[in-house]
């Protein structure tokens, strides 16, 4: 088993790809979540309709279909993406649709009286959103965002199906090359779990930070 350490290197390379995908996907998801989540509470019908369509479409179809679409069908429309881009696009848009509902829920969870205080102080809609509503809503969103990020991390495993050399894919490669099944799968399970723990720890830390001195914002 002299080669095992070498193959472990391969798996770690896969872990890097997985981390990269998770980070970039999360950024895209976050952007989409805010765009669509706030779009859902817009007063313009068109914006609301667009946001709703986006959310329902991406929540309604499976991440696989989206991935295969982004990878195999988009090129026929002239948009050819690298596997990494396709992966980030599909994952970000998919998880973003779920997170958009979190954003919307959190925005609605801020009491009506806060909106009225904004009006009474003559803040514009965007100003009120930016300085009063979102900072309070953010704290409500954060724990669920953490869960969304873990979902995204797990979803990266399906990009192996479009041949992106992520953790799961490398496990498959190592399995083919070494003939060992248990070792590669067990080690990637452990790595995924460690990454998930890091995410939830990070979110909890962030939450504590943000909640400081804010007792009474929630409930």
């Amino acid at each position: 088993m002299t080669q095992w350490s070498g193959y472990l290197g391969l798996i770690l390379q896969g872990a890097l790809v997985t981390i990269e995908l998770t980070l970039m996907g999360s950024v895209l998801a976050l952007i989409m979540a805010f765009l669509a989540g706030m779009g859902r509470v817009s007063r313009f019908f068109i914006v609301r309709a667009l946001a709703t369509t986006y959310i329902e479409f991406f929540r309604g179809t499976s991440i696989f279909v989206q991935l295969f679409w982004a990878y195999f069908v988009l090129p026929f429309a002239g948009l050819s993406l690298t596997p990494l881009q396709a992966g980030v696009l599909a994952l970000g848009l998919n998880v973003g649709a779920y997170a958009a509902e979190v954003v919307r829920g959190a925005i609605l969870s801020v009491g009506r009286e806060q909106y009225e205080a904004c009006t009474a102080l003559n803040l514009g809609r965007w100003q009120g959103m930016r300085h009063v509503i979102l900072p309070q809503a953010l704290l409500v969103m954060l724990p669920t965002f953490g869960n969304n990020a873990i979902e995204l991390l797990k979803a990266t495993s399906v990009v192996s199906l479009i041949s992106l050399a992520d953790l799961t894919f490398q496990a498959q490669v190592v399995r083919s090359q070494t003939g060992s099944t248990l070792m590669p799968f067990l080690s990637v399970l452990i790595i995924y779990f460690a990454l998930a723990l890091i995410i939830s720890w990070g979110v909890r830390t962030l939450e504590r930070r943000m909640a400081r001195g804010l007792d009474g914002v929630r409930v």
Partner: protein
């Protein structure tokens, strides 16, 4: 005689099938201190919220400081007001709520400076200087860095008053600003309002169940019932010699419940 600063002309307002205001008209003079009293559900809060543009009206007209509130004149025509017109009109009006509605994620100072900095572009230094003056006025200069959650109800309400004043509105609306407070905290808020009434020539509209305070504070009292003004007059007239039966009944009940008039 100067022109009225608020001119409410036959406005009506319904929630669903329920008519809250029914052809209500009233006028307020610049600098006047007005108390709105009346039974629960009579529409007192609603008229304040309408003036603050938190509710829309179904019919009628309102003029504030010489301009239409819910309409704009364009080429001699009256059109529904757009957001820009409303924002302009809101500069003239401030409101203090029953439940304070402070921003819980911002410290006292930021609560007071936020609106001037955002809506008027006041530089931070100037906004904070003015905020300190106002906090000093309401007796909370030492709480500038506190978070709302750390304040008592009375303190919160005084911050809310300072926050509304920071925009220097010509008209201030107060909706039962003491009714959510523990009894021992009511007085500190009323004191601030007395001071305000004495020191400024702001127009003030006050909805309250504190009849004693309304008596001392107001130049004129309006008695509301079922979305209409049933009686109005100087505090002494209304409280000592109400003409209408409804007013008499209302005051009798209030006194029975132990309120001082």
């Amino acid at each position: 005689m100067p022109a009225p600063i608020i001119k409410v002309d036959a406005i009506s307002k319904s929630f669903g099938a329920f008519k809250v205001l029914d052809g209500l008209s009233m006028q307020v003079m610049p600098g006047e201190k007005l108390a709105l009293i009346g039974p629960s559900g009579s529409g007192k809060t609603t008229i304040l919220r309408i003036l603050m543009t938190l509710e829309k009206i179904d019919g009628g007209h309102i003029q504030v400081d010489g301009e239409q509130l819910y309409h704009m004149e364009r080429n001699g025509q009256l059109l529904p007001a757009d957001e820009r017109h409303l924002a302009k009109m809101r500069q003239k009006i401030g409101m203090v709520f029953q439940l304070f509605n402070l921003f819980p994620h911002k410290c006292v100072m930021d609560n007071v400076t936020l609106a001037p900095m955002l809506t008027k572009g006041t530089p931070r230094a100037a906004a904070e200087k003015r905020a300190m003056e106002l906090l000093d006025m309401v007796g909370l200069a030492d709480k500038a860095k506190s978070m709302p959650a750390q304040l008592s109800g009375g303190q919160k309400q005084r911050v809310a008053i300072a926050r509304a004043l920071a925009l220097s509105p010509k008209i201030m609306l107060f909706d039962e600003v003491t009714s959510a407070l523990d009894p021992e905290l009511v007085e500190e808020v009323l004191n601030v309002m007395r001071k305000l009434a004495a020191e400024t020539d702001m127009t003030m509209l006050l909805v309250t169940h504190e009849m004693g305070f309304a008596h001392d504070f107001a130049d004129r009292v309006l008695f509301f019932d079922r979305g209409r003004i049933v009686e109005e007059g100087k505090p002494d007239e209304i409280f000592r010699h109400p003409k209408q039966e409804r007013t008499q009944g209302f005051l009798k009940k209030i006194i029975a419940a132990g309120h001082r008039v």
